[in-house]
Amino acid sequence: MRSPLIPEMATQEVQLNETLAHLKTESETLKSKLEEERAKLHDVELHQVAEKVEGLGQFVMKTRRTLKGHGNKVLCMDWCKDKRRIVSSSQDGKVIVWDAFTTNKEHAVTMPCTWVMACAYAPSGCAVACGGLDNKCSVYPLSLDKNENLAAKKKSVAMHTNYLSACSFTNSDMQILTSSGDGTCALWDVESGQLLQSFHGHAADVLCLDLAPSETGNTFVSGGCDKKANVWDMRSGQCIQSFETHESDINSVRYYPSGDAFASGSDDATCRLYDLRADREVAIYSKESIIFGVSSVDFSLSGRLLFGGYNDYTINVWDVLKGTRVSILFGHENRVSTLRVSPDGTAFCTGSWDHTLRIWA
């Protein structure tokens, strides 16, 4: 640090440095207080309370459908509310809408970019949103006319300064929530493309997000390369809770069906459960033999089962309450990159770097 020539500047610099030091001390004090308060309420472990719950039997889940048609890695998928249609996106820039019952392709769009990392179905079932390396989120209305060129009706909604990692419609077709490699999340009006709210707080790329179940109000959770999972108030843009227990990137976050908790999947090969009212991690789903990252997680309808798609090509099924693994599923020939349970809970779908999607039940 250069020593200033003017005495007043010297005084000001000292004052600024004192303020900074003071703030840093307060920061440390608050962090300790936070840990203390959380620890006070840590009276028992979830799996201990769950000892009295009946154990789960053997599960027989198999691939019931295989959706073939993508020319490269499948990166993302989402279910339509009608419980049979699926949208998927791929590294080769293709976005496909499938009828999962018949495995027929109903629509296909070629994006102007590769690595379409995010896609989502609109609640009405009449549109899909997608984006990736183009740094945007675009909405395509789905036409009943199979011959119509979907790309012609494309609407650019979101603009980030780095890749789009995830997107989700809120409870209507009118708003979209996005997360990006630029470290932010944002809420957009679909019709006008206007930015309604932005969410700052992650210190690195945001990789995933999930909206709270509508009954629980206007919040969402995001996970990032800074190993943090943040819970946000959608109206104020404020981060209301933050959890940092993972040891690597958080690739996936998903709310527990009651909205009182959420699960996360990380490159540290673990899934974890965080309870929002206890404000802490309450379970870790891991095994010494599992050393590859988790790309995607989702709950069964009751929240008793947690499905995790892994980079070692498998799906592990966990008993959420007892913390044990109840099943391991094989079938994909490369990383599982995306996993979602169907809206009525009858099946779940996985997408993989092996270019296929599988429906399991």
Binding site: N17, L46, R277, L301, S302, R304
Partner: protein, 72 residues
């Protein structure tokens, strides 16, 4: 950039961090035992309506094949 400006933006950053921590420290929390029993109760109440948990017969699941019966 002068060291004074550098300090100013660090201070802004530090103020934001303190602000954020104050918000997080002030929320109301419940005990893990209570949170756990609530999670368990939710699972219990919804278990019978969870097809992947209970397993539903092939005839009711559109993704499962209906196996034809042959009488030998």
């Amino acid at each position: 950039m002068s060291s004074k400006m550098h300090s100013s933006s660090s201070i802004a950053q530090a103020r934001r961090t303190v602000q954020q921590l104050r918000i997080e420290a002030s929320i109301e929390r419940i005990k893990v035992s209570k949170a756990s029993s609530d999670l368990m109760r939710y699972c219990g109440e919804h278990a019978k309506n969870d097809p992947l948990l209970m397993g539903i017969p092939a005839s009711e699941n559109p993704f499962k094949e209906k196996k034809p019966c042959t009488v030998l």
